[in-house]
Protein backbone atom coordinates (compact mmCIF):
# COMPACT_ATOMS: atom_id res chain seq x y z
CA UNK A 1 0.00 0.00 0.00
CA UNK A 2 2.87 2.30 0.77
CA UNK A 3 4.37 1.80 -2.68
CA UNK A 4 1.04 2.32 -4.33
CA UNK A 5 0.44 5.54 -2.46
CA UNK A 6 3.87 6.82 -3.29
CA UNK A 7 3.64 6.36 -7.02
CA UNK A 8 0.22 7.87 -7.38
CA UNK A 9 0.60 10.78 -5.06
CA UNK A 10 3.87 11.98 -6.44
CA UNK A 11 2.84 11.48 -10.03
CA UNK A 12 5.51 8.87 -10.68
CA UNK A 13 8.53 9.51 -8.42
CA UNK A 14 11.54 11.69 -9.06
CA UNK A 15 12.20 12.87 -12.57
CA UNK A 16 14.87 12.08 -15.12
CA UNK A 17 17.23 14.78 -13.92
CA UNK A 18 16.78 13.79 -10.30
CA UNK A 19 15.12 17.06 -9.48
CA UNK A 20 12.47 16.89 -6.79
CA UNK A 21 8.91 16.81 -7.96
CA UNK A 22 6.83 19.50 -6.28
CA UNK A 23 3.18 18.83 -5.84
CA UNK A 24 0.95 21.85 -5.54
CA UNK A 25 -1.90 21.67 -3.11
CA UNK A 26 -5.26 23.20 -3.78
CA UNK A 27 -6.06 26.11 -1.51
CA UNK A 28 -8.76 24.15 0.29
CA UNK A 29 -7.03 20.75 0.22
CA UNK A 30 -7.41 18.48 3.24
CA UNK A 31 -4.52 18.58 5.68
CA UNK A 32 -4.34 14.80 5.86
CA UNK A 33 -6.24 11.62 5.19
CA UNK A 34 -7.94 11.71 8.57
CA UNK A 35 -9.45 15.10 7.91
CA UNK A 36 -10.63 13.94 4.52
CA UNK A 37 -12.18 10.85 6.10
CA UNK A 38 -13.81 12.71 8.97
CA UNK A 39 -15.33 15.26 6.62
CA UNK A 40 -16.81 12.70 4.24
CA UNK A 41 -17.53 9.42 6.01
CA UNK A 42 -20.94 10.28 7.46
CA UNK A 43 -22.07 12.01 4.29
CA UNK A 44 -20.98 9.10 2.13
CA UNK A 45 -22.64 6.57 4.43
CA UNK A 46 -25.91 8.53 4.36
CA UNK A 47 -25.78 8.73 0.58
CA UNK A 48 -25.25 4.99 0.29
CA UNK A 49 -27.84 4.18 2.95
CA UNK A 50 -30.41 6.05 0.88
CA UNK A 51 -29.55 3.70 -1.99
CA UNK A 52 -29.65 0.34 -0.18
CA UNK A 53 -31.88 0.99 2.84
CA UNK A 54 -30.03 -1.17 5.35
CA UNK A 55 -27.10 -0.83 7.70
CA UNK A 56 -25.00 -3.86 6.78
CA UNK A 57 -24.86 -3.13 3.07
CA UNK A 58 -24.41 0.62 3.63
CA UNK A 59 -21.42 -0.10 5.89
CA UNK A 60 -19.91 -2.54 3.40
CA UNK A 61 -20.31 -0.13 0.51
CA UNK A 62 -18.92 2.81 2.46
CA UNK A 63 -15.89 0.69 3.35
CA UNK A 64 -15.47 -0.39 -0.25
CA UNK A 65 -15.58 3.19 -1.53
CA UNK A 66 -12.96 4.42 0.93
CA UNK A 67 -10.68 1.46 0.30
CA UNK A 68 -10.98 1.98 -3.45
CA UNK A 69 -10.35 5.71 -3.12
CA UNK A 70 -7.47 5.37 -0.69
CA UNK A 71 -4.79 4.65 -3.29
CA UNK A 72 -5.68 6.95 -6.17
CA UNK A 73 -7.09 9.88 -4.23
CA UNK A 74 -4.52 12.64 -3.99
CA UNK A 75 -4.41 14.67 -0.84
CA UNK A 76 -3.43 17.78 -2.74
CA UNK A 77 -6.78 17.73 -4.53
CA UNK A 78 -9.35 20.39 -3.79
CA UNK A 79 -12.36 19.41 -1.69
CA UNK A 80 -14.53 19.62 -4.77
CA UNK A 81 -12.23 17.22 -6.59
CA UNK A 82 -12.34 14.83 -3.62
CA UNK A 83 -16.15 14.91 -3.56
CA UNK A 84 -16.27 14.31 -7.31
CA UNK A 85 -13.92 11.34 -6.97
CA UNK A 86 -15.84 9.84 -4.06
CA UNK A 87 -19.12 10.27 -5.96
CA UNK A 88 -17.71 8.58 -9.04
CA UNK A 89 -16.29 5.74 -6.96
CA UNK A 90 -19.57 5.33 -5.07
CA UNK A 91 -21.47 5.14 -8.33
CA UNK A 92 -19.22 2.39 -9.64
CA UNK A 93 -19.25 0.48 -6.36
CA UNK A 94 -23.05 0.66 -6.07
CA UNK A 95 -23.62 -0.47 -9.65
CA UNK A 96 -21.29 -3.41 -9.11
CA UNK A 97 -23.09 -4.27 -5.84
CA UNK A 98 -26.48 -4.54 -7.55
CA UNK A 99 -25.07 -6.58 -10.43
CA UNK A 100 -23.53 -9.08 -8.02
CA UNK A 101 -26.39 -9.17 -5.56
CA UNK A 102 -29.55 -9.16 -7.68
CA UNK A 103 -28.38 -9.03 -11.29
CA UNK A 104 -30.42 -5.86 -11.67
CA UNK A 105 -29.71 -2.22 -10.88
CA UNK A 106 -32.24 -1.15 -8.28
CA UNK A 107 -30.88 2.29 -7.47
CA UNK A 108 -28.14 4.38 -9.04
CA UNK A 109 -26.08 7.44 -8.21
CA UNK A 110 -26.43 10.63 -10.21
CA UNK A 111 -23.04 12.32 -10.05
CA UNK A 112 -24.27 15.90 -9.81
CA UNK A 113 -26.78 15.00 -7.11
CA UNK A 114 -24.16 12.96 -5.23
CA UNK A 115 -21.63 15.80 -5.27
CA UNK A 116 -24.32 18.15 -4.05
CA UNK A 117 -25.24 15.65 -1.31
CA UNK A 118 -21.61 15.37 -0.20
CA UNK A 119 -21.10 19.12 -0.25
CA UNK A 120 -24.33 20.10 1.46
CA UNK A 121 -25.82 17.02 3.10
CA UNK A 122 -29.56 17.35 3.60
CA UNK A 123 -30.84 17.54 7.17
CA UNK A 124 -31.64 14.37 9.02
CA UNK A 125 -35.00 12.91 8.03
CA UNK A 126 -34.95 14.78 4.70
CA UNK A 127 -36.69 11.86 3.01
CA UNK A 128 -39.52 11.81 5.54
CA UNK A 129 -41.74 14.28 3.67
CA UNK A 130 -41.69 12.28 0.47
CA UNK A 131 -42.34 9.08 2.40
CA UNK A 132 -45.30 10.68 4.11
CA UNK A 133 -46.68 11.78 0.76
CA UNK A 134 -46.53 8.20 -0.45
CA UNK A 135 -48.03 6.77 2.73
CA UNK A 136 -50.80 9.37 2.79
CA UNK A 137 -52.48 7.95 -0.30
CA UNK A 138 -52.48 4.33 0.87
CA UNK A 139 -55.44 2.64 2.59
CA UNK A 140 -55.29 2.93 6.38
CA UNK A 141 -54.14 -0.62 7.15
CA UNK A 142 -51.45 -0.56 4.46
CA UNK A 143 -50.24 2.79 5.69
CA UNK A 144 -50.17 1.56 9.27
CA UNK A 145 -48.11 -1.56 8.61
CA UNK A 146 -45.52 0.46 6.69
CA UNK A 147 -45.36 3.12 9.39
CA UNK A 148 -44.83 0.46 12.04
CA UNK A 149 -42.22 -1.47 10.08
CA UNK A 150 -40.26 1.28 8.34
CA UNK A 151 -40.70 4.54 10.23
CA UNK A 152 -41.08 3.16 13.76
CA UNK A 153 -38.78 0.22 13.00
CA UNK A 154 -40.93 -2.26 14.89
CA UNK A 155 -40.45 -5.99 14.34
CA UNK A 156 -42.96 -7.97 12.33
CA UNK A 157 -44.30 -9.58 15.52
CA UNK A 158 -44.61 -6.24 17.32
CA UNK A 159 -46.35 -4.75 14.32
CA UNK A 160 -48.74 -7.69 14.10
CA UNK A 161 -49.56 -7.34 17.81
CA UNK A 162 -50.10 -3.60 17.44
CA UNK A 163 -52.57 -4.21 14.63
CA UNK A 164 -54.22 -7.22 16.27
CA UNK A 165 -53.40 -9.59 13.41
CA UNK A 166 -51.23 -12.69 13.02
CA UNK A 167 -47.60 -12.49 11.99
CA UNK A 168 -48.47 -14.25 8.73
CA UNK A 169 -51.16 -11.73 7.95
CA UNK A 170 -48.84 -8.86 8.82
CA UNK A 171 -46.30 -10.21 6.38
CA UNK A 172 -48.82 -10.48 3.57
CA UNK A 173 -50.19 -7.03 4.39
CA UNK A 174 -46.69 -5.57 4.33
CA UNK A 175 -45.92 -7.14 0.97
CA UNK A 176 -49.10 -5.82 -0.59
CA UNK A 177 -48.60 -2.40 0.97
CA UNK A 178 -45.08 -2.18 -0.48
CA UNK A 179 -46.37 -3.03 -3.93
CA UNK A 180 -48.97 -0.29 -3.57
CA UNK A 181 -46.29 2.16 -2.41
CA UNK A 182 -44.20 1.18 -5.42
CA UNK A 183 -47.14 1.95 -7.67
CA UNK A 184 -47.56 5.36 -6.07
CA UNK A 185 -43.87 6.10 -6.61
CA UNK A 186 -44.12 5.04 -10.22
CA UNK A 187 -47.19 7.23 -10.78
CA UNK A 188 -45.41 10.18 -9.18
CA UNK A 189 -42.37 9.83 -11.39
Amino acid sequence: MAERGRGRAAGGGSGPAGRPLHVVRAGDAYADWEELYADNVVRLYRLLYSKVGNRVDAEDLTTEVFLAAYGPLRLEASRGEVRAYLSQTARTVLASFWRRRLGKEITGIDLDAAEEFLERPPPDGYAAKRAQRILAVLPARSRRILELRFLERRSLRDSADAMGITVGNAKVLQHRALRMAAQVREDES
Binding site: V24, S50, D57, T62, K104, D124, F150, A182
Partner: protein, 232 residues
Protein backbone atom coordinates in the same frame (compact mmCIF):
# COMPACT_ATOMS: atom_id res chain seq x y z
CA UNK B 1 -38.32 -21.22 9.75
CA UNK B 2 -40.27 -18.28 8.42
CA UNK B 3 -43.40 -17.18 10.24
CA UNK B 4 -45.41 -18.79 7.48
CA UNK B 5 -43.86 -22.14 8.30
CA UNK B 6 -41.81 -22.75 5.18
CA UNK B 7 -38.22 -22.01 4.28
CA UNK B 8 -37.50 -19.69 1.40
CA UNK B 9 -35.18 -16.85 0.54
CA UNK B 10 -36.69 -13.71 2.06
CA UNK B 11 -37.73 -11.10 -0.44
CA UNK B 12 -35.19 -8.26 -0.60
CA UNK B 13 -37.96 -5.79 0.32
CA UNK B 14 -38.69 -7.84 3.46
CA UNK B 15 -35.01 -7.84 4.39
CA UNK B 16 -34.91 -4.04 4.08
CA UNK B 17 -38.01 -3.80 6.30
CA UNK B 18 -35.89 -5.53 8.97
CA UNK B 19 -32.86 -3.26 8.23
CA UNK B 20 -31.10 -6.44 7.12
CA UNK B 21 -28.72 -7.00 4.19
CA UNK B 22 -30.29 -7.64 0.83
CA UNK B 23 -30.23 -11.39 0.04
CA UNK B 24 -28.58 -12.41 -3.21
CA UNK B 25 -30.55 -13.87 -6.08
CA UNK B 26 -32.61 -12.75 -9.03
CA UNK B 27 -35.71 -10.59 -8.59
CA UNK B 28 -38.60 -9.87 -10.94
CA UNK B 29 -39.64 -6.37 -11.93
CA UNK B 30 -42.43 -6.25 -9.37
CA UNK B 31 -40.11 -7.10 -6.50
CA UNK B 32 -37.55 -4.62 -7.84
CA UNK B 33 -40.17 -1.86 -7.58
CA UNK B 34 -41.22 -3.01 -4.10
CA UNK B 35 -37.57 -2.98 -3.07
CA UNK B 36 -37.12 0.60 -4.32
CA UNK B 37 -40.14 1.64 -2.26
CA UNK B 38 -38.79 -0.22 0.79
CA UNK B 39 -35.38 1.47 0.46
CA UNK B 40 -36.99 4.88 0.24
CA UNK B 41 -39.25 4.26 3.25
CA UNK B 42 -36.42 2.79 5.28
CA UNK B 43 -34.29 5.88 4.73
CA UNK B 44 -37.12 8.16 5.82
CA UNK B 45 -37.15 7.32 9.50
CA UNK B 46 -35.61 9.76 11.97
CA UNK B 47 -31.81 9.32 12.10
CA UNK B 48 -32.22 6.11 10.09
CA UNK B 49 -29.33 6.94 7.80
CA UNK B 50 -26.75 7.87 10.42
CA UNK B 51 -23.84 5.45 10.78
CA UNK B 52 -22.92 3.69 14.01
CA UNK B 53 -20.03 5.45 15.79
CA UNK B 54 -18.30 2.03 16.09
CA UNK B 55 -18.39 1.66 12.34
CA UNK B 56 -16.98 5.14 11.71
CA UNK B 57 -14.18 4.55 14.20
CA UNK B 58 -13.48 1.02 12.94
CA UNK B 59 -13.09 2.11 9.34
CA UNK B 60 -10.91 5.02 10.41
CA UNK B 61 -8.59 2.59 12.19
CA UNK B 62 -8.57 0.24 9.21
CA UNK B 63 -7.55 3.00 6.84
CA UNK B 64 -4.95 4.16 9.35
CA UNK B 65 -3.48 0.68 9.41
CA UNK B 66 -3.18 0.76 5.63
CA UNK B 67 -0.72 3.56 6.02
CA UNK B 68 1.37 1.23 8.15
CA UNK B 69 1.26 3.34 11.24
CA UNK B 70 -1.00 4.24 14.10
CA UNK B 71 -3.23 7.16 13.17
CA UNK B 72 -2.02 9.22 16.11
CA UNK B 73 1.61 8.90 14.98
CA UNK B 74 0.92 10.67 11.73
CA UNK B 75 0.78 14.15 13.16
CA UNK B 76 4.28 13.89 14.53
CA UNK B 77 5.72 12.76 11.26
CA UNK B 78 3.93 15.46 9.38
CA UNK B 79 5.36 18.05 11.71
CA UNK B 80 8.82 16.59 11.17
CA UNK B 81 8.51 16.81 7.42
CA UNK B 82 7.35 20.38 7.60
CA UNK B 83 10.44 21.22 9.61
CA UNK B 84 12.62 19.28 7.17
CA UNK B 85 11.44 21.59 4.38
CA UNK B 86 13.29 21.02 1.14
CA UNK B 87 15.05 18.00 2.58
CA UNK B 88 11.80 16.10 2.76
CA UNK B 89 12.49 14.47 -0.59
CA UNK B 90 15.36 12.56 0.96
CA UNK B 91 13.22 11.58 3.91
CA UNK B 92 10.67 10.17 1.50
CA UNK B 93 13.08 7.41 0.61
CA UNK B 94 13.03 6.23 4.19
CA UNK B 95 10.43 4.88 6.52
CA UNK B 96 8.26 7.96 6.33
CA UNK B 97 7.86 7.71 2.56
CA UNK B 98 4.12 7.31 2.67
CA UNK B 99 3.74 10.34 4.82
CA UNK B 100 5.93 12.41 2.55
CA UNK B 101 3.85 11.45 -0.42
CA UNK B 102 0.53 11.92 1.26
CA UNK B 103 1.46 15.12 2.99
CA UNK B 104 2.88 16.59 -0.20
CA UNK B 105 5.11 19.54 -0.33
CA UNK B 106 4.01 23.10 -0.48
CA UNK B 107 6.22 25.13 -2.80
CA UNK B 108 7.94 28.17 -1.33
CA UNK B 109 5.39 30.36 -3.02
CA UNK B 110 2.49 29.61 -5.26
CA UNK B 111 2.06 32.16 -8.03
CA UNK B 112 -1.36 33.66 -8.34
CA UNK B 113 -3.48 32.30 -11.15
CA UNK B 114 -3.26 34.17 -14.42
CA UNK B 115 -6.14 36.48 -15.07
CA UNK B 116 -8.64 35.59 -17.74
CA UNK B 117 -7.35 35.90 -21.27
CA UNK B 118 -9.27 38.80 -22.74
CA UNK B 119 -8.48 39.54 -26.37
CA UNK B 120 -8.28 43.18 -27.42
CA UNK B 121 -10.72 42.35 -30.16
CA UNK B 122 -12.50 39.09 -29.90
CA UNK B 123 -15.41 37.07 -31.12
CA UNK B 124 -17.30 34.13 -29.73
CA UNK B 125 -16.24 31.01 -31.60
CA UNK B 126 -17.81 27.58 -31.35
CA UNK B 127 -15.25 25.07 -30.11
CA UNK B 128 -17.45 22.10 -29.27
CA UNK B 129 -21.00 20.86 -29.22
CA UNK B 130 -22.80 21.00 -25.88
CA UNK B 131 -23.20 17.22 -25.83
CA UNK B 132 -19.47 16.68 -26.41
CA UNK B 133 -18.42 18.25 -23.13
CA UNK B 134 -20.89 16.51 -20.84
CA UNK B 135 -18.85 15.92 -17.69
CA UNK B 136 -15.60 15.67 -19.60
CA UNK B 137 -12.73 17.67 -20.97
CA UNK B 138 -12.25 18.22 -24.71
CA UNK B 139 -9.48 19.98 -26.57
CA UNK B 140 -9.97 22.52 -29.30
CA UNK B 141 -7.72 24.23 -31.80
CA UNK B 142 -8.39 27.43 -33.69
CA UNK B 143 -6.12 29.49 -35.90
CA UNK B 144 -4.89 31.44 -32.84
CA UNK B 145 -5.49 29.43 -29.71
CA UNK B 146 -5.38 25.87 -28.50
CA UNK B 147 -7.25 25.05 -25.34
CA UNK B 148 -9.42 22.77 -23.33
CA UNK B 149 -12.99 23.13 -22.21
CA UNK B 150 -14.49 21.18 -19.34
CA UNK B 151 -17.97 20.85 -17.95
CA UNK B 152 -17.92 20.62 -14.19
CA UNK B 153 -20.70 19.50 -11.89
CA UNK B 154 -23.79 21.63 -12.23
CA UNK B 155 -23.11 22.28 -15.96
CA UNK B 156 -20.52 24.91 -15.03
CA UNK B 157 -18.06 25.46 -17.91
CA UNK B 158 -14.34 26.20 -17.69
CA UNK B 159 -12.02 26.89 -20.63
CA UNK B 160 -8.26 27.18 -20.31
CA UNK B 161 -5.38 27.86 -22.63
CA UNK B 162 -3.66 24.70 -23.87
CA UNK B 163 -0.21 26.28 -23.68
CA UNK B 164 1.87 25.51 -20.61
CA UNK B 165 2.39 28.62 -18.51
CA UNK B 166 6.10 27.74 -18.17
CA UNK B 167 7.47 27.87 -21.73
CA UNK B 168 4.39 27.49 -23.87
CA UNK B 169 4.64 23.80 -24.79
CA UNK B 170 1.32 22.40 -25.91
CA UNK B 171 -0.36 20.43 -23.16
CA UNK B 172 -1.75 16.97 -23.73
CA UNK B 173 -5.01 15.75 -22.28
CA UNK B 174 -4.36 12.76 -20.02
CA UNK B 175 -7.84 11.24 -19.93
CA UNK B 176 -6.92 8.46 -17.54
CA UNK B 177 -5.62 10.79 -14.88
CA UNK B 178 -8.01 13.60 -15.84
CA UNK B 179 -5.27 16.20 -16.11
CA UNK B 180 -3.30 18.21 -18.64
CA UNK B 181 0.31 17.10 -18.98
CA UNK B 182 3.15 19.21 -20.34
CA UNK B 183 5.48 17.08 -22.50
CA UNK B 184 8.45 19.39 -21.95
CA UNK B 185 9.11 19.66 -18.21
CA UNK B 186 6.93 17.18 -16.42
CA UNK B 187 4.33 19.63 -15.24
CA UNK B 188 0.65 18.84 -14.91
CA UNK B 189 -2.44 20.96 -14.55
CA UNK B 190 -5.99 20.13 -13.58
CA UNK B 191 -8.59 20.56 -16.29
CA UNK B 192 -9.43 23.86 -14.62
CA UNK B 193 -5.86 25.08 -15.03
CA UNK B 194 -4.54 24.61 -11.50
CA UNK B 195 -0.96 23.34 -11.19
CA UNK B 196 -1.07 19.78 -9.85
CA UNK B 197 2.66 19.15 -9.80
CA UNK B 198 5.82 20.35 -11.49
CA UNK B 199 9.54 19.72 -11.59
CA UNK B 200 10.73 23.27 -11.96
CA UNK B 201 12.69 25.51 -9.62
CA UNK B 202 9.59 27.65 -9.12
CA UNK B 203 5.98 26.68 -9.60
CA UNK B 204 4.52 27.93 -12.89
CA UNK B 205 1.35 29.96 -12.77
CA UNK B 206 -2.06 28.51 -13.41
CA UNK B 207 -3.23 28.29 -17.00
CA UNK B 208 -4.88 31.34 -18.49
CA UNK B 209 -8.64 31.10 -18.40
CA UNK B 210 -10.70 31.82 -21.48
CA UNK B 211 -14.18 33.19 -21.40
CA UNK B 212 -16.62 30.46 -22.29
CA UNK B 213 -20.36 30.24 -22.69
CA UNK B 214 -23.10 27.91 -23.75
CA UNK B 215 -25.05 29.16 -26.75
CA UNK B 216 -27.86 26.76 -27.56
CA UNK B 217 -26.20 23.51 -28.59
CA UNK B 218 -22.79 25.13 -28.96
CA UNK B 219 -19.95 25.76 -26.55
CA UNK B 220 -18.31 29.05 -27.46
CA UNK B 221 -15.07 30.66 -26.36
CA UNK B 222 -14.15 34.32 -26.71
CA UNK B 223 -11.11 34.32 -29.01
CA UNK B 224 -8.98 36.93 -30.78
CA UNK B 225 -10.27 37.88 -34.17
CA UNK B 226 -6.79 37.96 -35.67
CA UNK B 227 -6.02 41.67 -35.87
CA UNK B 228 -2.94 42.74 -33.96
CA UNK B 229 -3.82 45.37 -31.37
CA UNK B 230 -2.84 48.91 -32.32
CA UNK B 231 0.13 50.42 -30.56
CA UNK B 232 -0.91 53.16 -28.18
Amino acid sequence: MSPLGRRRRPRPSEAVADNGPIPAGPVDDEEAEALRAAIELRSAGPAADLPRPEFVEGLRRRLGELEGEAPTARVGRRAFLTAAGAGAGAVAAGVAGVVADRTLLQPAHEPAASGPLEPASGAWVQVAGADEVTRRTVSFTTSHVVGFVTERAGCDLVAVSGACSHQGCLLKLNETEKRLDCPCHRTSFSSEGRVLFHQLPAAPSSLARLQVRRNGDAIEVLLPTGQMPQQA
